[in-house]
């Protein structure tokens, strides 16, 4: 049997005007298990609070019901009161008879009757309340940033400048990401390297940033404030401590491999740095194309290296890193357009993908900035094709946002560097950023021809061998256009990295059907994710240009700070738990929980809930067919009892 104390508040006249409070208190005392029932003018005032505390001690109460204003107002106040009086703070129920009764009716009969019913429900519920205690965990103050593109670099610098220790993990042998491949950036035509390399250098020099290039995340354990992440350091076969970047080895090396950095336009040595301003500016050996690894002899680089930095026996190493928060900024790839046979990419040498053209323009690129085709000639007519794979239900339904703008940039650079006629085949020109429309007008004035119609086919010209024919309908005139050109530039769909689903699985991030990471709330929390303590920034969330990416990186850094700036963190007490005796192993809870709190223990065949991840929403308790999951403070028995109590009078 429980000993319940009921305390009815007048709230001055707010409640007493339309509810007979003394009659309510009198009614309360008649209910079973109610030991003391009082009413007082201001329960939340200090004398009111003392009255409750005294009654708890005097009548050895084990449940307290306060019939007053909304729990959203004073639940915390009264919890502190009963806690000070030695009663567990969760053995309290608030009955809301002000906002939901006295203020919404003028009929005192109706008000009092409803108050009685609500009170009766509260008594039924109070009997079944059980004491709960909330756990406190400490928070690790370091942060890890995954992905060394402009987003990762920006976030790492922001966090490091606040004094936090940052681990920047990059899969490639250099940071910089796709931005480092560009020559110019729209709309200001800034040289991409000039605005990026200072930041890359700052990252290298910054005392708080540990730069981990040629590394991959292999395992993630733990939860918010206490992640421990296993990083795999891929074998570089070059000891970066000894190497002083004299790059003598790169001249001598006979090995030939496809230069990923130059999008495969040229070859590069087996031991190489991707581009001159690479950070760190130290080479790595690519196993697949190193003649020593292939045939067992050569080792020319070792002979040449004065500092004995070459080490063929190097193995992949693993390091465990503890951090409090993680920012994922893994960036994007461009879609491989070879399957779209109608555009002939990979079949006709004159067809280029956007990143290849970026490398053509780049002075550190394969053609040192000169626009020459694969056969060495300068193109006389160039067609730039928009929406290749984007805005297309059969490939990627989204618009990649940046292709219109970089196509205009290409048009400008082509006009500047060659004497070619430039055509743009588009559906809509989307120039919606600051200064973008002005840039579009400037390009029109540079006599670039715009044809409104999505290209249907690129074919070899039968009468001019070596040239290409672009077929499309100019929907403005309705004419079928056959345009002979030398070079075709495709702007492929911007899609997440191919391993984004694996990264998602590691960090418990759900991805949309293409692999972009799902933000917690599209409008109000675009950088947070469903996993507490994991944030996202940049194109890995959805296609965007550099200004938006940098803005998101700063935002993600701020959100990470909200976690790591605290030493301690209090966990919710009203979390859910599983009674293993009743669990039938249907795994409904594991499937529905947005936070991944429940996990299935295959040996025991029952689910278990990680209370650190549980937010207490109770969804798992309602999908559990055998009521094995107890949603603390809102258990099935408590809710059923409250309903029964409400329906009695």
């Amino acid at each position: 049997m429980s000993r319940i104390g009921v305390f009815v508040c007048h709230c001055g006249l707010n409640i007493a005007k339309t509810i007979r409070v003394s009659e309510l208190a009198e009614f309360a005392s008649t209910l079973p298990d109610v030991v003391v029932a009082r009413d007082y003018r201001f329960m939340c005032s200090t004398p009111g609070q003392e009255m409750i505390a005294n009654d708890i001690k005097e009548h050895r109460l084990d449940r307290v019901i306060v019939t007053a204003c909304s729990p959203l107002m004073h639940e915390h106040t009264f919890r502190k009161v009963i806690e000070k009086a030695g009663l567990n703070q969760y053995l309290l129920t608030i009955v809301n008879i002000r906002e939901q009764v006295s203020w919404v009716t003028s009929d005192i009969e109706e008000g009092t009757a409803k108050a009685k019913a609500l009170l009766n429900g509260a008594v039924y519920r109070a009997r079944l309340l059980s004491p709960l205690s909330s756990r406190v965990i400490d928070v690790n103050s370091d942060v890890m940033v995954v992905g060394g593109g402009i987003a990762g670099i920006q976030a790492a610098l922001e966090l490091a400048n606040t004094g936090k220790k940052v681990y920047l993990v990059e899969k490639n042998s250099t940071i910089g990401g796709h931005m480092a491949q560009f020559d110019k950036t729209f709309p200001t035509l800034d040289c991409s390297a000039c605005i990026l390399t200072p930041k890359m250098d700052a990252v290298l020099q910054h005392p708080n940033i540990t730069l981990m290039t040629y590394c991959e995340v292999s395992e993630v354990k733990g939860f918010v404030g206490n992640f421990d992440i296993k990083i795999r350091q891929k074998a570089r076969y070059v000891n970066h401590d000894r190497c002083n970047a004299c790059l003598a080895c790169t001249e001598k090396c006979p090995g030939k491999g496809i230069a990923e950095w130059d999008e495969g336009l040229v070859k590069r040595k087996a031991i190489h740095i991707p581009f001159p301003q690479a950070v760190p500016q130290k080479p790595v050996i690519d196993r697949e194309h190193c003649t020593f690894f292939l045939k067992g002899k050569c080792r020319l680089c070792e002979k040449v290296c004065e500092h004995k930095a070459i080490d063929f026996e190097q193995e992949d190493t693993f390091t465990e890193i503890k951090v409090g928060a993680v920012i994922v900024a893994t960036g994007y790839n461009l879609m491989d357009t070879k399957p779209l046979v109608q555009y002939g990419y990979g079949k006709y040498p004159g067809v280029y993908s956007a990143l290849e053209v970026e490398r053509l323009f780049n002075s550190a690129g394969p053609t040192a900035g000169k626009v020459t085709m694969r056969d060495g000639k300068e193109p006389q007519a160039i067609a730039i094709l928009h929406c290749i794979g984007s805005r297309d239900k059969n490939n990627y339904e989204h618009c990649s946002r940046v292709c219109c703008m970089y196509s205009l940039k290409f048009a400008h650079l082509f006009k500047e560097k060659t004497s070619a006629d430039v055509y743009q085949f588009y559906i809509d020109i989307r120039a919606a950023g600051k200064g973008y429309e002005e840039f579009y007008n400037r390009i029109i004035e540079e006599d670039v021809k715009f044809i409104r119609g999505k290209v249907a086919r690129v074919a070899e010209s039968s009468d001019e061998p070596g040239r290409l024919i672009v077929e499309a309908e100019d929907t403005i005139t309705g004419k079928f256009v056959k345009l002979p050109v030398d070079m075709v530039v495709l702007s492929p769909a911007m899609i997440p990295r191919e391993d984004s689903k694996d990264i998602g699985r590691l960090f418990n991030l759900s991805t949309d059907k293409y692999g972009f990471f799902m933000e917690r709330h599209p409008k109000l929390a675009p950088l947070a994710t469903m996993s507490e303590g994991i944030f996202i920034a940049g194109v890995c969330q959805s296609p965007k240009d550099i200004p938006d990416t940098v803005a998101q990186a700063n935002g993600a850094a701020a959100e990470a700070l909200t976690i790591v700036s605290r030493e301690k963190m209090e966990l919710e007490a009203t979390t859910a738990m599983v009674n293993p005796a009743s669990c039938c192993g249907c795994q409904n809870c594991v499937r529905v929980c947005p936070y991944g709190a429940p996990s299935f223990n295959y040996e025991k065949g029952v689910s278990e809930i990680n209370e650190a991840l549980c937010k207490g929403c109770g969804l798992c308790a309602s999908v559990c067919p055998t009521s094995a999951i107890i949603a603390r403070h809102f258990t099935n028995e408590q809710v059923l009892a409250e309903i029964e109590g409400l329906m009695e009078f």
């Binding site: 079973p32 005796a581 029964e644 009695e648």
Partner: protein
């Protein structure tokens, strides 16, 4: 005394009985017959072989309320439910079912253990036994001959009925039967020829053939005791069983029940409801331990209870061979073949 009435006048007999009290008689339903409380005399239908559920519900209903109380009130305010039922007429009970009441009396009516509800129902009720139709062959599931029950044994019934062509002969067996037959004006006197036909019918009933094997209670008990630890046998015979409890609910000699409290707001009723040893939580203890979690343990318990423990304790097999458990088992487990297997194992 022997009375007679023509079959197509049965509804008049039913109407007469309904005036005297509660009439339970077989009524045609979707996939068979059942004893139902008759509301309209025309419902009664006697050309059935046997009902789906046994007539035990007449004396041992699915739910019996014992005590009414109010939560929070002192104990003496609780009241025992007084049972004052009108006399019930169980019309058309087959000989094997009537025999089952005798076995159930051991538990509910024997000296020392008396269930007042069963006792009052049994005493006020009048049982109209009804012989099987000897022309028609027995159903494949039935094996009451093995248990020594004849197709036309009048023992246990107050009035025993036999079908003679288009007529129904009603012969009184007990004083209660005499009294009721006398009161029923709608019946007309039976002739000597009817009496002779009745006696012959009873005698012929003894030789009526059903599935049978020589089953001496001691032998099967001994066999089952040896078989207790032979889990291969029990796993094999119970591999199809889905432990649903239909067999125990249709069986005339299963009497296990559960006591529970159903409450609504402050009112509460303590009541008895049927339970089944085949239910997974039948032997679930408060500690969470459950001695019989596997299907084969539960099936072994059911068979042993009827053919081994009951014999050792009361000297009679607690089964009348009506075959209902075989007929209505969703997976067609046959108790007769099981016993045969056991005898051979």
């Amino acid at each position: 005394m022997l009375k007679k009435i023509s079959i197509n006048k049965i509804s008049e007999l039913a109407a007469a009985l309904m005036d005297k009290g509660l009439l339970l008689a077989p009524v045609k339903e979707i996939s068979g017959y059942n004893f139902v409380e008759i509301k309209d005399p025309k419902q009664v239908d006697l050309d059935f072989h046997n009902t789906i559920a046994s007539p035990k519900a007449a004396f041992f209903p699915h739910k019996e309320d014992f005590i009414k109380y109010e939560t929070g009130k002192p104990i003496d305010t609780a009241s025992v439910v007084a049972l004052n039922l009108p006399p019930a007429f169980l019309f058309g009970a087959r000989p094997c079912d009537v025999k089952s009441f005798e076995i159930m009396d051991i538990h509910f009516n024997a000296s020392g253990i008396v269930d007042p509800f069963w006792k009052q129902r049994r005493e006020t009720a009048v049982i109209f036994g009804y012989a099987f139709d000897l022309e028609k062959p027995a159903q494949p599931e039935e094996f009451y001959q093995t248990l020594g029950i004849g197709a036309a044994d009048p023992e246990g019934s107050d009035v025993f009925m036999v079908k003679k062509g288009g007529d129904l002969l009603l012969n009184s067996v007990t004083p209660k039967g005499e009294k009721i037959l006398a009161e029923l004006k709608v019946l007309n006197e039976g002739k000597a020829a009817d009496k002779k036909y009745y006696e012959e019918y009873i005698k012929k009933g003894k030789e009526y053939k059903t599935r049978s094997m020589c089953l001496e209670p001691g032998a099967i008990t001994k066999k089952l005791e040896d078989l207790f630890y032979n889990t291969d046998f029990w796993t094999r015979v119970s591999s199809a069983c889905i432990s649903c409890g239909v067999c125990t609910f249709v069986c005339p000699t299963c009497y296990c029940f559960d006591i529970c409290d159903d409450t609504l707001f402050a009112q509460g009723i303590r009541r008895r409801v049927w339970d089944a040893c085949m239910f997974t939580d039948f032997t679930l203890e408060a500690s969470g331990h459950n001695p019989r979690t596997h299907v084969y343990q539960r099936l072994r318990q059911k068979i042993n209870h009827k053919y081994s423990y009951h014999v050792r304790k009361y000297g009679v097999i607690s089964c009348v061979g009506c075959g209902r458990c075989t007929k209505h088992c969703p997976v067609n487990i046959d108790i007769y073949s099981l016993i045969e297997d056991a005898m051979k194992a």
